[in-house]
């Protein structure tokens, strides 16, 4: 699988996702700088977490107008897979590739906790195909603006079209280290898909749960299944 990680000034989870992908597939991802406008066709591009451009103006707003975005949009129209994690999700929203908005956490706190995600009944997508509906994975979040907000008609549309990838749930594994809907997002949404299922934006960080020393390996399991299904 050929993959790439888009890096902006202020991205800080780029190395983590590179390490995670290298654990799964022998071919190391290309590191793509935000000014890069020429790179080979890829199967997967990841926009990692962090604080691109210092979160100035709005989270992800300036990154979403970087030169690389045009190529990322071309990648999407070619049918390539695209994963935005945390700030990467905020960037995808700002580009308009995914709809809605990510606003300030309801409790005004930067929340860094484990969450339990429940896989939803979605359209065909490499990001959910490897899972049973209702299956739960434990993945940490770390953000200040992760409260997914959308007008009711859009929420209904996402729901009816099977474009809600996962929701925060209390789950069987719930304890005081786990946060349920840590940001107050509408309908407990933790991640959404594009109409073709090839683009996923998610607030939780799978690359931070790839080693038992992290406290869990569900992130590795999740990314492994995604990559298996992207390769086909």
């Amino acid at each position: 699988m050929r993959s790439g990680v888009a890096i902006f000034p202020g991205s800080n989870c780029d190395r983590d996702i590179v390490v995670a992908i290298k654990k799964i597939t022998p071919k190391a991802p290309l590191k793509l700088w935000h000014k890069d406008t020429e790179f080979p066709n890829l199967d997967l591009i990841v926009i990692p977490g962090g604080f691109s451009f210092g979160d100035y103006l709005r989270c992800g707003a300036l990154a979403a107008r970087s030169p690389i975005i045009r190529n990322i949009k071309n990648h999407v129209s070619r049918g390539g897979s695209l994963l935005g994690i945390c700030n990467g999700f905020q960037i995808l929203i700002e580009t308009g590739i995914l709809p809605g908005s990510l606003i300030r956490n309801k409790n005004l706190l930067f929340t860094c906790k484990e969450t339990i995600l429940e896989i939803q009944n979605t359209i065909k997508s490499p990001f959910t195909e490897g899972f049973q509906i209702g299956e739960q994975i434990k993945i940490p979040v770390a953000h200040n603006e992760g409260n997914y907000f959308a007008p009711k008609p859009l929420l209904d549309e996402l729901n009816n079209e099977g474009r809600i990838a996962f929701k925060y749930v209390k789950g069987s594994d719930f304890d005081n280290k786990v946060a349920y809907n840590p940001n107050g997002s509408s309908n407990d949404i933790a991640g959404i898909l594009s109409p073709n299922g090839k683009v996923l934006g998610m607030m939780p960080h799978p690359e931070r749960a790839i080693n038992s020393l992290h406290g869990g390996t569900d992130g590795l399991r999740f990314l492994t299944k995604c990559i298996e299904h992207i390769v086909g």
Partner: protein, 82 residues
């Protein structure tokens, strides 16, 4: 010529910052105020002195970058003499 863009959250969009400010105001004894909404202001200076042109350009800037029109409203004020 100067353009001032005032950006506010649309009605119905949660403004936790505004709520927190209101709580603090009420703790200080300001009980008359029952709702606080926050926003931001962006000030742009132009060489150009054509009011219509500056307004149009600012509007385009708002739509392409400055404002998230999903959750925010904006208005533009033009000041001829800075």
């Amino acid at each position: 010529m100067r353009a001032i863009v005032n950006i506010s959250l649309k009605q119905g969009v949660l403004d936790p910052q505004g709520q927190a400010i209101q709580n603090s105001l009420s703790n200080l004894g300001f009980n008359n105020c029952n709702n606080v909404r926050t926003g931001k202001q962006i000030i742009l200076d132009f060489q150009d002195n054509d009011e219509e042109q500056v307004f149009k350009e600012t509007e385009k800037m708002c739509e392409t970058l400055l404002v998230n029109t999903v959750i925010e409203n904006y208005d533009i004020e033009i000041i001829k003499e800075i």
